[in-house]
Symmetry: C2
Amino acid sequence: MPRTVVALGGNALTKPGGEHDWAEAVERMRLTAGSLAQVVKDGHELVVTHGNGPQVGAALRQNEIAEREVPARPLAILNAETEGQLGLLIAQELAPALRRAGVPRTVLAMVTLVEVRPGDRAFKRPTKPIGRFYTEAEARLFRKRASWAMSFDGARGGWRRLVPSPVPVAWVEGEAVRRLFDAGIGRQVVLVAGGGGGVPVVRRRDGRLEPVDAVVDKDLTSALIAEVVGAETLVIVTDVPAVAVGFQKSWERWLGEVTSRELGRLLAQGEFGAGSMAPKVEAALQFLRRGGRRVIITDIPSLRRGLRGEAGTRISAR
Amino acid sequence: MPRTVVALGGNALTKPGGEHDWAEAVERMRLTAGSLAQVVKDGHELVVTHGNGPQVGAALRQNEIAEREVPARPLAILNAETEGQLGLLIAQELAPALRRAGVPRTVLAMVTLVEVRPGDRAFKRPTKPIGRFYTEAEARLFRKRASWAMSFDGARGGWRRLVPSPVPVAWVEGEAVRRLFDAGIGRQVVLVAGGGGGVPVVRRRDGRLEPVDAVVDKDLTSALIAEVVGAETLVIVTDVPAVAVGFQKSWERWLGEVTSRELGRLLAQGEFGAGSMAPKVEAALQFLRRGGRRVIITDIPSLRRGLRGEAGTRISAR
């Protein structure tokens, strides 16, 4: 059976603006679960990874508001909490959907730790905006009080905290999970892993794993997970049905079949948005460089047809 | 190899009053991890379960304080979040401790769903106090506004919210996990499951799993998990080295070897505290009734000697 990793973006889990409403998240996830169940029905062994931007944003805000009475927890710990929260959301909807589709599986959501290098240059230059928007006065305060890096978002008229986004170099639980897949776990279990890119940890000299205040790109972690479990295909689920060249310009062109070489050239030409499509393309290219066969970038409605080669952007290794 | 489930109480994870301080939790967990690693070194296949009372209390408080800006999430979802939080805490300290002890294992923390019956009488009569203390005026407000059941704690002079504590009748992921243990996962992996008693869900007629506002007793869930994975021994870790008869009375007597029949008689005589030792004894008796060989009730310092039959209260099946 083909082994497939599907990386769910924020919108597959919650409606934009609806990230605070659990009932809405359940409804959205139910639709996503129906599509994922069809993928299993089509014969795929499935691993699901997912983002957590809106959820970790809400948790940060709660920590901030309540901190005089309940000390705030570090970012990495909040990340682990969203793995629990969204692991539950995915499991509660996906397990019944699989049963309805006639392919019962156990959905097993796990806490994922990813090792990052303490010397990763991302720690010197934080680039990933997280949490809410601040006024200029607030930005000045947090810069001073908490040594936060802050950046001004002109389009939305506010300041945001920047955190490092280091590269995931190893999946802490990876070897054990790979053995489970070698032993056939994929026929009975849908694994949910790598939520929010995983909890970033650095390995100290005494061997201890120390969570760090950073956010790992969920698509890079998904590529790593796909590599470790020996998946043929990585699907990056996003808001658009495919990757576009000249996105929203008059010469816009949607990519169908494309080689990694071609896509790499377009990436180098600056064709893809820095905070949006470029990291997805980079994760795709990484997976294909390291032995993956195929990456599909598409949205939930096109997921099944994408895997059949009939929709989405389908990137081959050469 | 003997298979052993160790159920960690709150104090094995955090110091009393120190539940809000992540650095303190890490320190406390480091000590606990050292003891657990010795158990693995002594040849046990290990599954770790754990409570989450102080952590879910902190999360409830944050939700309450921040709710005008960030809508509060349901209790079951907060429970899943603490599974992520404490799963990380256990994994980050236990994995290195196992390596140092010369018995490297992958620590795999999973989100656990437990099925409860919608008709469980606990839903009609909530008994489990959670979260903070309220004044009488607040108690009246929440009773009216949110239909909370509330009870007055005379000793600590305040009102607390009561939630139902239904019986866990099935472990949703149990069958798949049992197969993994049958296939030998216990030699490579230490599983962390059943955190906070698991997330209680009811199965709706259409097959959907719906999280409910309740708290499942972590020791009953631990007994269920021990049964499902075919453990010989369940260890319930608490604050005292053993079970006492006449606890803190002049005729206080600590129990060493005891049969389940004898312990059942003492339980029926009302020897054990309702909110403290009685539920542990009930969980112990349930595990032994359903095929378990041995239950040990002890604290972290006595854990290893308890498993060797040299400390703690050791309960045999007959």
